[in-house]
Symmetry: C2
Subunit: 331 residues, 2 copies
Amino acid sequence: MAGRAIAPGSSSPDPSARGTELAESALAGDRRALARLLTAVENRSPAAESALRLLHPLAGRAHLVGITGAPGSGKSTLVAALVAEVRRAGRTAAVVAVDPSWPISGGALLGDRVRMQAFAGDDGVFIRSMASRGHAGGLATTTTAAATVLDAAGFDLVLIETVGTGQSEVEVAAAADTTVVLEAPEMGDEIQAIKAGLLEVADVIAVNKGDRPGAQRTASQLRAMLAGVEVLVTTATTGEGVRELLAALDRRRAALPAIGGDGSRRARAAALVWALLGDRVRERLTGPEPGAETAAVLDAVAAHALDPYAAADRLMKALVTTGDDNPVGRP
Amino acid sequence: MAGRAIAPGSSSPDPSARGTELAESALAGDRRALARLLTAVENRSPAAESALRLLHPLAGRAHLVGITGAPGSGKSTLVAALVAEVRRAGRTAAVVAVDPSWPISGGALLGDRVRMQAFAGDDGVFIRSMASRGHAGGLATTTTAAATVLDAAGFDLVLIETVGTGQSEVEVAAAADTTVVLEAPEMGDEIQAIKAGLLEVADVIAVNKGDRPGAQRTASQLRAMLAGVEVLVTTATTGEGVRELLAALDRRRAALPAIGGDGSRRARAAALVWALLGDRVRERLTGPEPGAETAAVLDAVAAHALDPYAAADRLMKALVTTGDDNPVGRP
């Protein structure tokens, strides 16, 4: 992989070659190339495909940890404390902060990210925010692709932090090996609703703001409710309990079956492949040859002249009878 | 369609026949059948397909109105006031309340739905809550299918109310002809972030709680910010401005191009067909013949032995070379 010579600063106009270059530079430790590659992944630009083709076989070593929880539970402070703990242990961490409610990309999203400036200049930490850009349903595959890049780039832990609550958060959690859900002590009835959705995806629960009254009781209640989920008490602002949280994550990592053997990685791989296959199918059906027929079928559905199931059957038939299985010239 | 005799209370064990029966009963005004049909749609049960095949050609007359907004903006009160206004005008309305953050279905979700009890026994109003059941990305297609059922059943307005905020809400808005975004007056900076995501999808903005100070100023600010979007002030608790809101919706409906002619209905039809085609593709590739090869390909990706793009290419090849284009015995 690294045998190919790369002219420093070269910028190929061919997206495929450009993606390969960015991937090779990122593997060699070039953080700017890594950042550009993540932008390509986020934008689903053509360069991302060649890069991911190269990087996917190198990934699979990192522990992908999703961190989620209600607003006000102290998520960003806990993420910063956890990263500091990872560094203290001589390991490296990347953070992907995903905000599904925000259609715009960029680092400015992170709001109170000031704490993270403690890691400025530390090559063992990489922080990146990603927005959803309206790609509903595509958030999980974009996050999975970003995690693959950071995994291949050699980070020991990839923390996927989600902002806000809702379905998208559950979707993002599906991209992680292990999901940590933060709770604040005694946040009352409103939190019950969030719990119902989020606790389903929790592997580890951190009751944060552990210095507040009620933290231990909240933890006990959660332990009673949820068998098999590790419940810890943390105080992110002081670092209390954060070492124990990292230890819990490491235990969980060790317990994951060998790479490829556990259901969650299998499900994630399958979801990604099905999404890419969906792209291929649309690409083929809207291509030069069957494109006009496809448009006519979709127009008929919009006009309520054809039902959508009959339309899907018709497109399926067009798909399998295009003969040449490679109309778009893929290798 | 209605020419077929249906034994009252009959319940065919064949899902396809059952779906047709439910659809015919719903068309005949049977509200219990309508409710069951929506459950089938929500559960994506086989009965839903035959029902939608029958109902899709009959739909396209209703105005599908998405209603969204920040928590605390008074959404459910406004929806109740709008339904009352629709009834006063001698028209009918169905309400689909979608809660993307909640993985469980059922009417109990609706919380403060007490106001809606005013419509109990009124056949011109139908209210239904739907949960996402973790079908990320599928929320829009499920909502579209539910709206098709209610549209075919003859409701003049189908109000699609979303709960909470986030990407899912934008996704649900895509299922509507017209999207109303509620704002509360002067809710401060936090709301700015919600606006950024939601105002993009707004066709009409209602500044609700219009009796509070700042309502008119908020409306003026929004008018200045957003050209082409109608901004109204409503007070849902008193009904003030609700007649004007309905008039604005009717103007918007009249301005929509002829059925099938406008981009949003075309996009919605296309999204639904692509989703169904995706189901067909997965069904075929995991079926008896290519199922073992498909499983091996997905395992290889999970084990990082094969990259996901190569996997998608391989599955595409398997798909188009299965020969028989109808292995699952569809008519």
